[in-house]
Subunit: 176 residues, 2 copies
């Protein structure tokens, strides 16, 4: 961040009055440009005893498998964002059930919020960010080809909870 997005002047990094952290501050108009973590929203779509995964057609982790998820957009709720990402990546329609995993990734300034969801029909197919979309039984999950630690953690938790018959929100912090 080099220039003020409001007036175009150069920025300096300093601690504003009344603040405790260094921020990018405009030397002309005084605008403080805060940078905050981003929320990634998605879901774990179930169809009977199988789970839907998408194989990534984009970087990073091209070709690896993931749950449908992406950056939350302005103007939507977390559940709406999770359903939108599932539609975009897998052309799949879901019913959101409940928040299931809250995973902090403080080293990359992201928070994942993944919902349990019920796939409404089998008429899914890859969106432009996916190479393949498929349903997997537990023993079919491509554990060695999963895209992100958050996805692996959440799937492990899910199958454990499914065995016990009891689902609730899980929280985790993953550091690299």
């Amino acid at each position: 961040m080099n220039y003020c997005s409001h007036c175009g002047h150069t920025l300096s990094v300093r601690i504003p009055d009344g603040d405790t952290l260094p921020r990018h501050v405009c030397g002309r108009c005084g605008t403080i440009h805060y940078q905050n973590p981003k929320l990634v929203v998605g879901c774990l779509p179930e169809w009977e005893d199988r789970v839907l995964l998408c194989r990534r057609a984009i970087k990073p982790r091209y070709g690896l498998w993931t749950l449908p998820a992406g950056f939350m957009e302005n103007g939507e709720t977390t559940a709406e964002g999770a359903a939108r990402e599932t539609l975009e990546e897998a052309n799949a329609r879901i019913e959101i059930l409940a928040p299931y995993a809250l995973v902090n990734l403080p080293d990359i300034d992201q928070i994942y919020l993944l919902y349990r969801a019920r796939l409404l029909d089998l008429d899914y197919h890859p969106g432009q960010e996916s190479l393949e979309v498929d349903l997997f039984h537990e023993h079919e999950i491509p554990w060695a080809q999963l895209a992100f630690p958050t996805i692996e953690h959440t799937l492990h938790q899910f199958f454990q909870d499914r065995d016990s018959g009891h689902f609730e929100l899980h929280t985790a912090d993953i550091r690299y």
Copy 2:
């Protein structure tokens, strides 16, 4: 958003290739400037049968009561952010118990994540963003002087759950 924060050139608003929404895009270096919702993290600190509230010394809602909460910072987890805000606003030390309220505010591009927390001692006092900090029994809560609908919603839910003896994560969408 008028200028590119990377190179200082003017921005235009258009839908980038492969995207579905209009973004601010730099006409010179091509940087796409995404805008995403912000996460507000905080907590509901309990001491025996009382709850800690802060009276705001800042706009908006100057002079009204709220739970300690604020924008999550880069490099921290949601629970760390909630504890940091409680220390900043109330100089209060807490133990985080569990996520309690997830409230979407899509009209202002915010998501509140509030934890239940246990106040560790009574040595609290107002930080520079607070006029007063105090503990309240349920019948003492200043319902008409609460700062935000999210706070009112969460406190109502909390006392209802406390009566029933059962706490779990609540989700809500609040539209203006």
